[in-house]
Symmetry: C2
Subunit: 601 residues, 2 copies
């Protein structure tokens, strides 16, 4: 009786919140209200007064548009008051249209479908292998979002990793935004897919409180398999005008008063979830390994320096964890894997799950580094976008950037990554040119809030900095002084710029060379000083012309501009030797020197 | 005997090509050589001398790193000579590290795993529902790439659409780049997943030519289900030094001479694939509907104008097809669906498959428009990146851009899309501010090569242009003249800029207002003229500060710069009314006028 009353309250409050807002998704909330009522009353082990309790269960609304239900649940547990509930979607309210971590009980932002379950995999992995705590991860999924490939990546991984602390509640209300889903109420079609991936499945009537109780209790009896509860529900359940009818997605009810009456009117029930047990997370042993140091003049690929630095950092810091998309012998994440196997995660060729796992682990405070080819991080761009909305601290490494990779051809060349990552809110974009710089930047990333991205190169490059040189995020290095013209590069083009400066020196032209290793934030002061003291700037980047290093420089100088000549990759490259492709793209020393001459009076 | 000899030739030529190149993936080629030999000899119906033959079968190497095998096959059918084969991966060669359509028999670029099968779904849909021709689509998949969610999106769709003209050959060699795959040689684990999605599966020994023959013949007897042939193979099959051993991924063989001898030495067999039947593709009836015209001063959302224009265009042009990611009542692609149901495809919430379907259809010359929320196109960014390498002509529409959407919150706001799409090679980025402009740009996109992106807005905006105004791609409109300062906007900020110009006019400041509807290519001449004739430019965009309209303007002026003040979204927005969020982001008329005053002497 209490649970059915609670469920009706969740429905009523979902209706009230969306009516107050004038928008939102009440019918998508009403279908899952019974599931939520039973979960809150006896199954979810979460102390809402201590959202950072390490042993708390986690509850993710992968169907983030059911935010009215989530907020109604927060009210039912006493975390949110009724007057705040009615600020839903209002300017300045914490109760945003889709949930975000501005609310302390929301781990990650959702609203882009198919992301909650892969993030749940990351949290469940953290529970099993890092925190080593018995918390469970409950993920409320919609049936429409099961069409997202990322959901199937999550199914594969959870099954493979035997995450029986992960429970997906799938609200099969059969109606998407525009019409019926592919599978309607055919629960067995979902079950067959999940079972094939190693999941245990339970098919229930999602409005039968006893069936829900049995399923949740059964799910809690872990048997080494993740659990998917497939609940047949009605969208808009409880209000005849809208129940199981198309055309009511994402709309407040037309007759809210009558609907609330039909649902039995207002209630003010409170439910107290089970308290989590008192337990502390596991801590890994640490050592005193310093950052690797490289002798000037030796040659090493920055991707290899990444692996070496990360392995060393992992020794000093027990909170550092790493994962890779089945290319760890290319990114050299394998060096971390070999040094710290307990803190390494093989995510196979599933970049969305790779990023989502890192997002899930950082929810629990782990300092997660994720790596793959820079080109393939584009596969997870929506996950990175959402991670920024989740206020996630995330460290990404993309290797094999640009035409400089050579023979593998354009499918493996990241040429848009600087633009894509610069356009992530609050991001940091780093692009080292030598091994010592790489090591320092890897260490800096561990302490950097938000999403930081390190672009590394395939080929070996000479070490030009001493091991004790410092590289603050937001800084730049004047690696050669000169008063006539300024050359700006980073990574492989920094070395080309240095060669260009040599060429120009022979002609009596003094070229200043700036290493713009921090593409975002950018060192405006150093650039402006160069703008003031030389005739102009030449930028060179192994990237398309848009959104990368060149435009970062233009932005820094926008209000007080000087002439800037920009070199970047303009034509679609093919295969070839790195030097051939740098030359063809006109981002090599010859091209840089030529542009520089145009600027010298 | 011929087939086994042919298979050995394919292996030998894969070894020779990668040895000549000094890089490449011979072992990944050798595992699939028997599959390819049987396919070429009697099953593939493809006239290599007429790559544009409408009834040709299609062959996609989803495991693009097996390019040596693909090129060896092209040699075996006489399409490529031996001396060209040995230019593999050399600078200027058509035989790039991973296949691209610079070769006429390659439909799409591969090399980013998990894309070939979803593109194959698009081609198979075209065969069934557009061309209405009996061609088959053969996709060679690797087992590692089955971990990609996009593969499962393809499985879902192909099963749902009953594409029995689609045949996936999965080369289960059990070894990925760094180690064993998740499922090894457990063919049944793949079969269970595919069967759950409605596929017919056949499990075979991938080195038994009779089993392969039976499977291909069986697959050709369509029964309404797509077919997955799961072939257990050995990576490096045929050469004991590398066969079924880890550590040899992506490396030429160390002892190529001995390997070739072990494989029976050089051969020069030729195989002639079956000729396709002579048949012409279906053509849809057309009418004379003109573009919709809107009266100045009326209000309409540009997303709605998109749907109306696309429906009209579809009447005039029978080659126009459309698809959407289950939000067609928001993007108004539903207007096309209702007008042209035969040419509309519901792709559900699977954005990777959405883009891949469009890519597949344009291979056959269909003019494909794909739409969803602009924010969710980021889910398919890698597919768009690869589409550019595929030289695909693709029309994308992203709705609900920017903070101007209001209450739904940041997960639904595209704020990085201009940056992401500008950084796609050869792309066109359009951002209309009224309904007539939208209609003209939709029509222009149909004739535009490469990838064009239309950013539309959620809210209604006033029509400011007459219906007969023209909007060339690469142009801009001076919508208000003025000699003191220039305001540059597009979409919602164009209207704010007009209001700002009104505010400034009251103060005696003459503001020129430029509508930068073509963000890429950008109208450098109009911007430079404004730079010359006014004190400076203010740009305003409903987008993060990086890579969007502001930086497009800076790039246009880079070599001959003037002061530019840029307004963009700097802080993470929440929910609220559009006007509240535009004000908070300081991209509204008030903020624009304020910035403009800073520039006026």
């Amino acid at each position: 009786m209490f649970r059915s009353e609670l469920a009706q309250q969740l429905r009523v409050d979902s209706v009230r919140a969306s009516t107050a807002a004038g928008s939102g998704h009440p019918t998508s909330s009403m279908s899952a209200a019974d599931l939520m009522a039973v979960l809150l009353d006896g199954h979810l082990r979460l102390d809402f007064s201590r959202p950072d309790h390490p042993a708390n269960d986690h509850l993710i609304f992968s169907k983030g548009h059911a935010s009215p239900l989530q907020y109604a649940a927060f009210k039912a547990v006493g975390a949110v008051e009724d007057d705040e509930l009615l600020t839903f979607r209002a300017f300045g309210s914490r109760l945003e249209g889709h949930p975000t971590p501005v609310l302390p009980w929301v781990d990650v932002a959702t609203g882009s479908l198919g992301q909650g379950l892969p993030v749940g995999v990351g949290l469940a992995l953290a529970g099993k292998r890092l925190d080593r705590l018995p918390y469970r991860v409950w993920v409320l999924c919609g049936d429409s979002e099961m069409a997202e490939g990322s959901v199937w990546e999550a199914l594969e991984h959870a099954g493979h990793e035997q995450l029986d602390n992960l429970i997906a509640l799938v609200d099969v209300n059969r109606l998407g935004q525009t019409g019926p889903t592919m599978h309607g109420w055919d629960l067995s079609s979902y079950a067959a897919r999940a079972q094939a991936a190693g999941w245990r499945t339970l098919e229930i009537d999602g409005h039968d409180l006893d069936e829900i109780e049995s399923a949740l209790a059964e799910a809690e009896r872990g048997d080494g398999r993740p659990v998917m509860i497939l609940a047949a529900t009605q969208k808009g359940k409880g209000v005849a005008e809208v129940a199981d009818k198309p055309g009511f997605h994402g709309k407040p009810l037309a007759h809210a008063e009558e609907a609330i009456a039909e649902l039995g009117g207002l209630r003010d029930l409170r439910v107290k979830p089970v308290a989590p047990e008192d337990a502390a997370p596991h801590a890994f042993d640490t050592g005193n390994t310093g950052l690797p140091a490289y002798e000037e003049g030796t040659e090493l690929a920055t991707r290899k320096a990444y692996g070496q630095a990360l392995a060393a950092l992992g020794d000093r810091r027990g909170d550092v964890v790493a994962m890779d998309g089945e290319v760890s012998n290319s990114t050299f994440a394998e060096l971390f894997r070999d040094a710290h196997p307990d803190r390494y995660f093989e995510m196979y060729i599933a970049e969305q799950q790779l990023i989502a796992a890192a997002v899930g682990m950082q929810v629990r405070g782990w300092c997660a580094f994720a790596s793959t080819f820079a080109a393939f991080l584009s596969r997870a761009y929506d996950f990175v976008r959402m991670a920024a909305i989740s206020r996630a601290d995330l460290r990404l490494m993309g290797s094999h950037a640009g035409v400089a990779i050579g023979e593998d051809g354009p499918s493996q060349m990241a040429l848009e990554d600087l633009a894509a990552f610069r356009a992530v809110h609050g991001s940091t974009v780093l692009y080292p040119c030598d091994a010592n710089q790489t090591a320092h930047l890897v260490a800096a990333m561990a302490d950097q809030p938000g999403i930081s991205y390190l672009r590394t190169s395939r080929g070996a490059m000479p070490v030009i900095y001493p091991p004790d040189e410092e590289f603050p995020i937001g800084g730049a290095k004047v690696v050669r002084d000169g008063a006539d013209v300024t050359l700006v590069g980073a990574g492989v083009t920094l070395h080309e710029a240095l060669k260009a400066a040599d060429l120009l020196a022979h002609e009596g032209i003094g070229a200043r060379v700036i290493d713009l290793y921090s593409v975002k934030p950018v060192d405006t002061a150093t650039l402006r000083q160069a703008a003031k003291e030389t005739a102009g700037l030449v930028t060179a980047e192994d990237h398309w012309p848009e959104g990368g290093l060149g435009e970062a420089v233009l932005s820094a100088l926008a209000e007080d501009p000087v002439p800037v000549r920009r070199l970047a990759v303009h034509e679609m490259p093919g295969s070839g030797k790195p030097a051939e492709l740098l030359g063809q793209a006109r981002i090599d020393a010859t091209a840089i020197a030529e542009k520089a001459r145009e600027l010298v009076p």
